[in-house]
């Protein structure tokens, strides 16, 4: 099921967001734009986490990853298992197995113990992604999910997300500042600025845009990363699926 918004209006302090129309499905929609453009606000409103005017339709089972993820006091494995038990009503043993598999999936198999809140920022982002994916959502909202992850980890996580979306048909909405994320995960791009949609276009046509921000995005990413040319290999190694 797709995520749609119509005449979405949100007020956060002095900031106003107004989006006439927004559509996202499994082909992936990237929200891009300068700092303060309203990307996070759109994501929060789409998830129903902000009071808003207008209508939003989303699937029943959604999961969101915040730019600065927060965790419960406890180990990474316990955090994942707790969410599985709380949201999906899993029994303890099944939840624990699912949590262990999800940690392996994002390269955190070593970090099963200790306090999740004390992981490095990149590890916390890996864990946040695992926490969202382990729920097998029908819609995934990612807010700059790889910003602090190392280069190898970013490639690996993009592949994990891509595989999950391709396998499940999950709707993907991604806020990002990176062309590589757009190229790997999204077919559509929505440019936001000061709370308004400035341009909405196919990712393959990014280079044709006259918008200065999009030109900067493409120019910084380099032509080799242009969407449609270097879509990464979606294949995962055997045994790396979400299933325990």
């Amino acid at each position: 099921m797709a995520v749609t918004a119509a005449r979405l209006a949100v007020r956060r302090g002095t900031f106003w967001l107004e989006v006439d129309e927004l559509f996202a499905d499994a082909s992936g929609t990237a929200l891009v734009g300068p700092n303060g453009a309203g990307k996070t606000t759109v994501l929060l409103a789409l998830q129903g986490l902000l009071p808003h005017a207008g209508s939003v339709a989303r699937p029943g089972r959604c999961a969101g990853v915040f730019a600065q993820p927060a965790f419960l006091r406890g180990s990474p494995r316990w955090n994942l298992a707790t969410v599985l038990r709380s949201t999906l009503g899993m029994d303890e043993r099944t939840a624990d197995r699912g949590a262990a598999a999800a940690l392996r999936l994002v390269g955190l198999e070593e970090a099963t113990h200790g306090d999740a809140r004390k992981l490095s920022s990149g590890e916390r982002q890996r864990l946040a992604l695992a926490r969202a994916l382990v729920l097998e959502p029908e819609a995934l909202f990612l807010d700059e999910p790889f910003a602090n992850v190392d280069a190898h980890g970013r490639c690996m996580l993009r592949e994990v997300v891509n595989d999950y979306v391709a396998r499940s048909g999950c709707t993907l909405v991604l806020a990002t500042q990176t062309l590589a994320d757009v190229a790997a995960l999204c077919d559509h791009v929505v440019l936001l600025d000061r709370g308004r949609v400035v341009e909405s276009l196919g990712a393959a046509r990014l280079a044709e845009s006259a918008q200065p921000y999009l030109r900067a995005l493409v120019s910084e990413g380099g032509p080799g990363l242009m969407p449609g040319r270097t879509r990464p290999n979606l294949r995962l190694m055997p045994g790396e699926g979400l299933e325990p």
């Binding site: 998830q47 986490l49 915040f66 993820p69 969410v83 709380s86 949201t87 306090d115």
Partner: protein, 209 residues
């Protein structure tokens, strides 16, 4: 001695429990409420940190004096009056520290749990678990203040032997009589109570970590 110590613990524990209702309710309102009036309560909590116990004792004694506004209740010089005074003393400290404990939890955690589809009731339970160590420390600080104060206990309890004599007022009396060995005994018991309470809180906090 046992009777005095148990009355000390009983009155202070009861005062801390009653204060918990007001302090936690107020702290939750201050941290999660939307009304601007909540800042007034925060100021009251913070101002109350320096509230002199004798001032509270005086106010309670005046209120429940035989000819006072609530004299007909006839609770002055009873453990109930001592508990009331200690509740007033403990609530601002407990509330103020509880606000700090609640604010120490990542403010986005509630939304992040909601974004993962965690049901509202479970979210509350998980957030309560996050704040439990801080709240426990607040309660311990409140209990410590209650059990150690002497001014309000003296004024509202009257230090009546077998009825309202607690460790602090008994210590004062012993020093007044020059019975220092007895006074040291009371203080040792007082310190023992606080040590046990702190130790128990430490064990609980370790278990929650």
């Amino acid at each position: 001695m046992l009777q005095i110590a148990s009355l000390s613990v009983g009155v202070s524990l009861a005062a801390t429990l009653v204060a918990a209702v007001f302090a936690l309710g107020g702290a939750l309102w201050i941290v999660y409420g939307r009304s601007r009036l909540r800042y007034v309560l925060l100021v009251i909590f913070n101002a109350g940190l320096g509230l002199p116990p004798v001032a509270v004792g005086l106010a309670v004694a005046f209120t429940f004096w035989r000819s006072g506004p609530l004299g007909m209740l006839d609770i002055l010089y009873t453990p109930a009056a001592m508990m009331l005074a200690q509740t007033i003393i403990v609530t601002p400290l407990f509330g103020s520290l509880a606000v700090i404990a609640l604010r120490a939890v990542d403010p986005t955690l509630r939304d992040q749990l909601a974004a993962l589809g965690v049901p509202a009731r479970t979210r509350l339970r998980l957030l309560a678990r996050e704040t439990a160590p801080g709240i426990l420390a607040s309660a311990l600080a409140g209990f410590g203040r209650a059990v150690a104060e002497v001014g309000a206990a003296q004024m509202t309890g009257g230090n009546i032997e077998g009825q309202t004599r607690v460790l602090t007022t008994a210590t004062m009396l012993a020093v007044g009589r020059g019975e220092f060995s007895v006074a040291f005994g009371y203080v040792a018991v007082l310190l023992g109570i606080m040590t046990i309470a702190t130790g128990a809180a430490f064990v609980l906090q370790r278990r929650w970590q």
